[in-house]
C-alpha cells in the first residue's frame, strides 16, 4: 500500500507540470494584462510610459520562457511571489481564504454524505413505493434548485422565523472567525452555506446511491446473505452497502474538490470571503500570478482528492487492495 501511494505521488508531478504549462500560456493568450487593467481600466487614457514602468516592476516585460521559469522555480524555492494587483504575497492572499473555503467544503460534503447515503438506501429498499417517490422528488428538487437561490431562501427563512419566535430577526454573522476561536459563532455562520450547497450535491449522490444499491440488491451474494438468515439490517449494511459505495465515494470526492474553488455565487450570497471570490477577482484583474497559483492549488486539491478516493477504494474493495 505504501509503495502504491508513493507511486501515485510521483505520478502527480507530470500532472501538475501539465497544468502549470496550460494555465500559464492560456492566461497570456488573453489580450491585456494587470497594468492595463489598473491604469486604463475604466477606459481612461493611460500613459504608455507608466504602463511600461508597471510592467517592468512586475516582470511582465521579460521573455515568456523566463517568466514561466520564474513561475515554476518558485515552487522549488517556496516563493510564490506576490499578487500583481494587491502587492501582498500570494501565500497570504490564499491563506486567509483557504481556511474558510476548506471548512465550507468539508461541511458541505459532510451534509451531502449524511443526506445522500441513508436516503439512497431507503429509496432503493423501498423501490417504487411512495417513500421512494418522495426521496426521488427531493433529489430532483436538489438538482433543479440553484444553491444561491436556496441560500437566499435560507437567509430569508431565518429572518422570518427568528422574527416570529423571538421578536427580533436574526441573521447569520457576516464576518469570519476561525472555528477554534469561537466554534459557535463560526458554525452559526458556515452551517447555512454548507447546507445550501450540501443539499445540492447530495442530490446527485442520492440517485447514485439508489441505483448502485438497486443493482447490488439483485446480486447473488445478497440472496446468499438472506438464505443464511441474516436480518435485513445486516443484509443491507454489511452485504449490500459496502459493495454499492464505490461510485458514491467517487461522486462525493469530486464534489469536494470542486467545492474548494467553485462556490463563487454562494460565497456572494452569504458574504463569505472565500477562494471562489478571490478567483473571480484575480481573473478580472488579470492578476496572472495569483490566478496561476490558485489554479495550481485547485489542481493539487483535485489530484490529492483522487488519491484519497483511490485509497478509499482499496479499503472498500479487497479486489483492488491486492492487485
Amino acid at each position: 500500500m505504501g509503495k502504491y501511494i508513493l507511486k501515485r505521488m510521483l505520478l502527480m508531478v507530470p500532472t501538475l507540470f501539465g497544468a502549470a504549462v496550460l494555465i500559464f500560456f492560456l492566461l497570456r493568450l488573453v489580450p491585456g494584462d494587470v497594468c492595463e487593467v489598473r491604469l486604463a481600466g475604466a477606459g481612461l487614457y493611460a500613459d504608455p510610459e507608466a504602463i511600461a514602468i508597471c510592467r517592468e516592476n512586475l516582470g511582465l516585460n521579460k521573455p515568456l520562457m523566463a517568466q514561466f521559469f520564474d513561475f515554476v522555480w518558485g515552487y522549488f524555492i517556496f516563493d510564490l511571489g506576490v499578487s500583481m494587483w494587491t502587492g501582498a504575497s500570494v501565500v497570504h492572499e490564499i491563506e486567509i481564504r483557504f481556511q474558510l473555503s476548506l471548512q465550507v467544503a468539508i461541511m458541505a460534503t459532510f451534509v451531502a454524505t449524511v443526506i445522500s447515503i441513508p436516503l439512497g438506501i431507503i429509496s432503493a429498499v423501498n423501490q417504487n413505493t411512495w417513500l421512494d417517490y418522495c426521496v426521488r422528488g427531493f433529489a430532483i428538487a436538489g438538482i433543479a434548485i440553484p444553491s444561491f437561490w436556496l441560500g437566499l431562501i435560507i437567509i430569508l427563512g431565518l429572518l422570518i422565523i427568528t422574527q416570529a419566535i423571538t421578536g427580533s430577526p436574526w441573521m447569520p454573522p457576516i464576518d469570519y472567525k476561525p472555528i477554534w476561536e469561537d466554534p459557535v459563532y463560526n458554525l452559526s455562520q458556515l452551517i447555512w452555506p454548507a447546507v445550501a450547497t450540501g443539499y445540492r450535491y447530495s442530490a446527485v449522490a442520492v440517485r447514485m446511491t439508489r441505483s448502485a444499491m438497486l443493482e447490488v440488491l439483485r446480486e447473488d451474494y445478497v440472496r446468499t446473505a438472506r438464505a443464511k438468515g441474516m436480518i435485513e439490517k445486516v443484509v443491507i449494511n454489511r452485504h449490500a452497502l459496502k459493495n454499492a459505495l464505490l461510485p458514491v465515494v467517487t461522486i462525493l470526492a469530486l464534489e469536494f474538490a470542486f467545492l474548494m474553488g467553485g462556490l463563487v455565487v454562494t460565497e456572494q450570497v452569504f458574504n463569505l470571503n472565500g477562494l471562489g471570490k478571490l478567483f473571480v477577482d484575480a481573473v478580472g484583474n488579470q492578476d496572472f500570478n495569483l490566478t496561476q497559483n490558485l489554479v495550481m492549488l485547485v489542481v493539487l486539491i483535485f489530484v490529492l482528492t483522487n488519491l484519497v478516493t483511490d485509497v478509499a477504494y482499496a479499503w472498500l474493495d479487497p479486489r483492488i487492495r491486492y492487485s
Partner: protein, 331 residues
Amino acid sequence: MGALLEIDNLQTHFFTSGGTVKAVDGVSYDVNAGETVAVVGESGSGKSVTALSILRLIPKPPGEIVGGEIRFQGKNLAFCSEEEIRDIRGKDISMIFQEPMTSLNPVLSIGMQLTEPMLAHLPGMTEEAAKEKAVKLLEMVGINEPRRRIDQYPHHLSGGMRQRVMIAMSLACEPKLIIADEPTTALDVTIQAQILELMKNLTREMGVAMIIITHNLGVVARYADRVNVMYAGRIVETGKAADIYHRPRHPYTLALLKSVPRMDQPRQEKLDPVEGQPPDLTRLDGGCSFRPRCKFAEDRCAKSFPELEEMGEDHYSACFRSKEALSEIEL
C-alpha cells in the same frame, strides 16, 4: 414419523407485465430425514423456483407463493412470519446456489461469511469459537491451509473452492436439510464429481437431508435416493432413483433419458434430443403441457391434465399412456 419436509400443492406465480407466469403450479413432494431427493427438469421447469419458495427467497414482486403448504417440522413455511422463516434460514435449512463465482460477497472475508450464520443462529457462540469452527468446516470440505483461507477473500479462490466454501457455509449451523440448486452446473466436469462426492459424503455422515436440483441425470442416478421430474411447473414423474432410471413411465422422462449418453448402455449411433421448446408458462391450457413435444400424445391429452397415477411401489407418473411408454423402451 412424518417426513422432514412436506410440500403440498405449492403454487408460486410471477405476476409480470406479460401475464401471470405459473412457474410452480401444484407441486407436492416429501423429503424424509437424511434422504437425498433430486428434482430434475429443463431450464424453466420450475425446479429452482420450488427450491427458493421453500426458504421464501422468491423476489417479491413479481413472485409470490399463492397457494399450497410447505410444512417443515410442523410449521408452514409458505405463510409464517418473516422472523420465523429467518430463524429457519441458514439454521435448519440452508442453501447452496448454482453460481459459486457470484454467490459469495466479494468484499467480505471468507471467515466473516462463514462465521456470520453461526453468530446469528447459535446462542452462546463466541467469535473465537465460531472462527475455530469455520477453520474445521473448511478443513472438512477439503480446503488446504484453512487458517490462512479464512482471512482471504472470494477472489483468491477458484470456482470449485468457492463452492466448497458455500458447502462449508451451508453446514455451519448443522442444518437438517440442505437445498442445493444446481451446485455443479457452473463448474468444470472434473470438479463436479469431486463436489458431488463431497456433498454426498458429508450429508451421509451428518445425517442431513438434501434436495438436489439438477438437469443432469447422471447426478440423479448416482447420488439421489428419490427423484422428482418436473415439467412446466408440475411434477410429471416421481419415484426411487433406480425406478426412474431403469423403468421410466412418463414420456418426458423417457425423452430426457434418451437425450443423454449412458455408460451402462451400448453406444448408440447418435443421441436423441427432446424436440421442441418448453411451453410459454403464461399460456398454459388445461391439457398436458408436454403434449406438443410428446410422441405419445393423443386427443384426450388436450382435454385435461393427467393426474399422478401409481405405477409401482412409490412410483407415480402423470401420463394417460404411462404403460405404453414403458413398453416403448428397451432399457
